[in-house]
Amino acid sequence: MVKILCVEDEAALREDLVEVLEEEGYEVAVASNGSEGLRLLTDFNPDLILSDCLMPVMNGIDMLQAIRSGQPRFATTPVVFLSAHAQKEQVEKGVGLGAQHYLTKPVDYSELVKVLRSLLEARSREARGTPDEDSPAVRPPNERK
């Protein structure tokens, strides 16, 4: 089963996200801030990370930085950011760190599902060795799964 790590500090939103993702058949783990997310990373081993930007203790961007500079297997894990307002510099920084997508709150859940599906499909195609020209963003290097 495809695993998604969901990092969001606002409980009400977190619950919704878990519901939506589980409906789609994903296995979901939750964290309420960036450092919690990092803690869960190794054990949960997600295929994709869905994260809020502005959180206490450690925000989304810093978490992504830590992930990318940590274990190599997470260097290319797709990351989708949810943000209350997409500030240009935040977006640029995120993209620079290899974030695949940015969605602004309030999030349309059906659109979210579509984005996740296409990202995950692209990734699994790559893992199998088939290149895909419709992948939405930066093409990560080949990696054996």
């Binding site: 606002e10 801030n33 206490p56």
Partner: protein, 517 residues
């Protein structure tokens, strides 16, 4: 800029204007005096010489008259006696004398100082080869007066020879010298006295006042303004200058004052500008934060609505209720935010007025705690009421705002610490409510600014917040004549304590009633 002063070498100090003036005066006077003395000297000398001349001639004639006998009767020894009695014994100033006969031969000679040989021939020649009838004289022989007089009988008709005398002018010279020395001495004394007097006068009148005024000007230029300017009461040019200096100083003081005022003004403006900039920056942050804060409940509502839509027919009643509950909580959050923002702007305008009414404070507390508990599912709000009057006089709506804000802060800033304790009790004529969390705390250094508008403690990084909550709370509490304090340790938690009088406004009303009674 300080005033420069010339180097004061000893020569320069000596060559002051006043010294030059004094020297000039003294020298002038002395020259005048010297001229006067010189002229007088000459005059006296002429007189003395004239007198001496006449005396010498007369004496020569007197002696010559005595010599007629010895000469006529050819008695040189008697002539010698005459010399002795007339010249030696009378101590006349005769250097040498010679008696000549009618042929011009030397008959007898006289010499006062026998050690010095006297040239009688020259004396004789000086007298003239031919005999004169009258006395003649000349002063050209070695500075001696030579008088030649004919030796004749009483009636003057029988000339017997010539008597020639060389008179010494040494006495005159000595007298002259003495007089000259005296005059010189007097001149020098007068010169010294006059110089000293001139110096003293010029110094007092001119040089010292000038120096004083120069020093005064230097002091003014160096910023010293409070001393007394000298010489302002004099009626001459120096006084004029002193009075001009007084005016100058006043002008300098005025300029300094104006400059200082201007500098202050610039400083004030600069400070005001700085404050304005700071405020604008904070305000921008506030606006940005508010927009973020609004989006979150909006996102919650939208998310709940999306889920309701999706799960139509599939949700249970409880599930549906949970979703609608989220919506309502989010709405509450938004209303609070709107209220605070509105309150802040009203607070700025000074238009918040309390409407005090009897209120069951315990009930209010319970209500607020319950409301916040519903929103904060991961926290436990524990309310303890020690003792409260059944009714207190407050503005319930505003106190609701205060308590709500404190509680929502406690929840927000203690994301990992679920225990929140609310305690209420009565202390004297006041009600005290405290809200304690075990969350992120506030650094000691930031405590003074905690209640400032837009201020957010550094420990709140990453947690959305507008920075106006506590500012508003403090304002509302103080409107009630109460106060709020905080006790906090970074990393351990914070306790906020609010104290308000139980009867807001009543104490004042009673007092003013008592006064007007």
């Amino acid at each position: 800029m300080t005033a420069e002063t010339c180097e004061n070498g000893p020569l320069r100090r000596f060559l002051t204007v006043s010294n030059k003036l004094a020297a000039l005066g003294a020298i002038g006077v002395s020259i005048g005096f010297v001229i006067v003395i010189w002229v007088q000297n000459n005059h006296t000398r002429s007189l003395l010489y004239e007198t001496e001349l006449q005396d010498s001639i007369r004496m020569t004639e007197v002696i010559a008259a005595q010599l007629y006998g010895p000469l006529r009767w050819r008695k040189p020894s008697i002539a010698q006696d005459t010399y002795d009695s007339m010249i030696t014994h009378r101590d006349l100033h005769v250097v040498a004398a010679v008696t000549l006969d009618r042929q011009g031969n030397v008959v007898t000679t006289y010499q006062q100082n026998s050690s010095q040989p006297f040239n009688f021939q020259e004396l004789r020649l000086n007298a003239g080869a031919d005999l004169r009838l009258d006395s003649t004289w000349t002063a050209e022989l070695d500075g001696k007066l030579v008088v030649a007089t004919p030796v004749t009988s009483h009636d003057g008709r029988k000339p017997a020879g010539t008597f020639v005398v060389a008179w010494s002018l040494a006495e005159i010279d000595r007298a002259m010298r003495a007089m000259f020395l005296r005059a010189a001495f007097i001149t020098i004394v007068l010169f010294a006295a006059f110089t000293t007097l001139s110096l003293a006068i010029v110094h007092r009148q001119l040089s010292d006042p000038l120096t004083q005024l120069t020093q005064a000007t230097t002091r003014i230029a160096n910023g010293d303004k409070t001393f007394e300017i000298p010489c302002t009461d004099r009626r001459d040019e120096v006084g004029d200058m002193a009075r001009a200096l007084v005016t100058f100083r006043e002008n300098v003081a005025l300029i300094d004052r104006l400059t200082a005022e201007q500098q202050q003004q610039t400083l004030r403006l600069s400070n005001a500008l700085e404050k304005e900039r700071e405020y604008n920056a904070l305000h921008r942050e506030f606006v940005s934060m508010v927009s973020h804060e609004f989006r979150t409940p909006v996102a919650i509502i939208d998310g709940a609505a999306q889920r309701i839509e999706r799960r139509v027919g599939k949700d249970t009643e409880d599930q549906l209720r949970e979703r609608t509950g989220k919506i309502r909580s989010a709405v509450v959050r938004m209303i609070e935010l709107i209220d605070s923002t509105l309150s802040v702007s009203r607070m700025e305008a000074g238009t918040i007025e309390l409407e005090a009414a009897e209120c069951d404070f315990a009930a209010l507390l319970r209500e607020v705690c319950q409301r916040q508990q519903e929103i904060a599912k991961h926290h436990k709000i524990d309310l303890t009421i020690a003792d409260l009057p059944s009714r207190i006089l407050i503005d319930a709506k505003r106190m609701d705002q205060v308590l709500t804000n404190l509680l929502s802060n406690a929840v927000k800033y203690a994301p990992d610490a679920p225990d929140i304790a609310v305690k209420a009790g009565t202390v004297g004529r006041n009600v005290v409510v405290s809200v304690r969390d075990r969350g992120l705390g506030i650094p000691e250094a930031e405590m003074p600014k905690l209640f400032e508008k837009f201020f957010r403690a550094s420990t709140s990084a990453g947690i959305p917040g507008t920075g106006i909550g506590l500012h508003l709370v403090k304002h509302l509490v103080e409107l009630h004549d109460g106060n709020i304090t905080v006790d906090s340790t970074e990393g351990k938690g914070s306790t906020f304590s609010v104290t308000i009088p139980t009867r807001y406004g009543e104490a004042d009303a009673a007092a003013s009633a008592a006064l007007s009674a």
